[in-house]
Subunit: 174 residues, 2 copies
Amino acid sequence: MKRIAFLLVAVATVAGVVAFTAPASGHADEEAAPISGVTIPPGYRDWRLISVAHEEGKLNDLRAVLGNDVAIRASREGKLPFPDGTIIARLAWSYDPLEESSKAFGHPQTFVAGPPKNGVQFMVKDSRKYASTGGWGFAQFNDGKPADEAVQKTCFPCHETVRARDLVFNHYSP
Amino acid sequence: MKRIAFLLVAVATVAGVVAFTAPASGHADEEAAPISGVTIPPGYRDWRLISVAHEEGKLNDLRAVLGNDVAIRASREGKLPFPDGTIIARLAWSYDPLEESSKAFGHPQTFVAGPPKNGVQFMVKDSRKYASTGGWGFAQFNDGKPADEAVQKTCFPCHETVRARDLVFNHYSP
């Protein structure tokens, strides 16, 4: 009886985890990106953090790089190349001065994330399927819709500049 | 028999999740911070992302704000005050120009997270225990050790400037 009770608690826990995790980003079955055919991975907003970044100039955003479980494990171990099944997500938001901080300091001191900006990008590792682009399928989505082909074509050449790091710019931040 | 098999799969899944989640930040049983008595919550590095930020000036860092499940749920719903049990973690890393990007653009364009910097901070909501500091217990840890009392004393007055947001600076970034 104790054993059954334990099992039921375990089942309830699993059900709870699934129920709680599901609603975050229900973008399943959406349109595939041109070239790679990558779609928005369901629940990606719940993935764990790899690192953060800031782009100046025209992009002018604050960004977070999240990874699925395969990506997190590989990033922590620092082993290259990333294994098939790795998915890395790059989210970005506008780069906004925090009002209270600007008032307190008399100049912008703290910058926080405003509304989403510059789309959401994904890198999906499948060394056979994406052999011609370094083993990665690239995709950018703006407001949930794939960006056009001209935009998608810019991903690989840019990431190729870090071929020595398996085309991944960010390191895991402990 | 089918039911037992299902239960065993569920147990294995729970065990798997626990086994995979555990090694991230094994800081349990560490020293408590002065004033609040807050200790480093085990596994906080695996928590989900609330938002990101950049501090200029002396702090000069890139930061991520993570939350436990209670914090994530409350942040997404945008309801104030945060419920008891909320824990918010602020991680920070040095603000470093990305070498490849600087070369390509001829000036620093992309800033990425370097080594950890400015400690790790936690806000723990317990409206009774921490009634005298707005319902929050504050703590900063440098290299896994609590910062001294003078540092801990600076948390509450600064966060009090956003009392209308229940002392929390960051919003949830979708």
